[in-house]
């Protein structure tokens, strides 16, 4: 179960080498995304697509907002 986090903790986790993942569709990702983010749209997220991520580093997922 993912742990909730916030902006400040995200910045701290990134300093420690965390991986950022945006789960929105690619069109929205292209409009704007946090620097260094990988785009893995939620509907395409599975074991195969997730192999792009390193298992031994924290993963931070984000969406548009709280919804």
């Amino acid at each position: 179960m993912p742990q909730n986090t916030d902006r400040d903790q995200v910045r701290e986790l990134l300093r420690q080498g965390a991986q950022l993942v945006e789960v929105l569709p690619s069109k929205q990702y292209q409009k704007a995304h946090l620097p260094g983010t990988i785009n893995l749209p939620l509907k395409n997220l599975n074991r195969d697509t997730a192999t792009r991520l390193l298992k031994d580093k924290p993963v931070i997922v984000y969406c548009y907002d709280y919804q």
């Binding site: 742990q3 909730n4 986090t5 946090l34 983010t37 924290p58 931070i60 984000y62 548009y64």
Partner: protein, 157 residues
């Protein structure tokens, strides 16, 4: 899927952008943060009108945000300050909780907003209210001209 630590940044990228943090984009839409005037006068609540006047004069500004120690916007004084006696506390003449926009808003959207509010400039703040600067649309992005302004008066003979 075997990941040791997974975090959910629930506030999302809207919060990140509204805080003025950098984002990357494949579309090159100019944003308010790209055209921000950061050199602006500021005052504290306890300051008098004379302090605001001096600060505005030094920079040649026609508005002066009132901020607290953390830089959070509390109010705004504009041209009305020139009519106030020097000793008047700015708290008495300021517009409390003025209109603000986020740095992540597109310039086009911001210009439309200023148009609808009929204001020339707007304070730009982070999502927590901290002042970042002032946005003023360039000519051409400004208010829609009225039928009189669209043609010089001389054109009517």
């Amino acid at each position: 899927m075997g990941f040791r630590e997974v975090f959910d940044d629930a506030p999302g990228k809207v919060d990140w952008q509204a805080y003025g943090l950098p984002v990357e984009s494949d579309d090159e839409i100019p944003l308010v943060k790209d055209r921000l005037e950061r050199l602006i006068p500021v005052c504290r609540l306890a300051d008098s009108a004379s302090v605001a006047k001096r600060a505005m004069q030094e920079i040649g500004a026609n508005l002066c945000p009132i901020v607290n120690d953390a830089g959070i916007v509390l109010g705004l004084v504009g041209k009305d300050v020139w009519h106030a006696p020097d000793a008047t506390p700015v708290e008495e003449i300021m517009e409390p909780a003025p209109t603000t926009i986020r740095p992540s808003v597109s310039i086009e959207e911001a210009a439309k907003m200023l148009d609808s509010y009929e204001i020339d400039s707007v304070l730009v703040t982070r999502s927590d209210g901290k002042l970042l600067g002032v946005f003023t649309p360039e000519r051409g992005q400004h208010r829609k001209k009225t039928s009189q302004e669209a043609w010089p008066l001389e054109a009517y003979g």
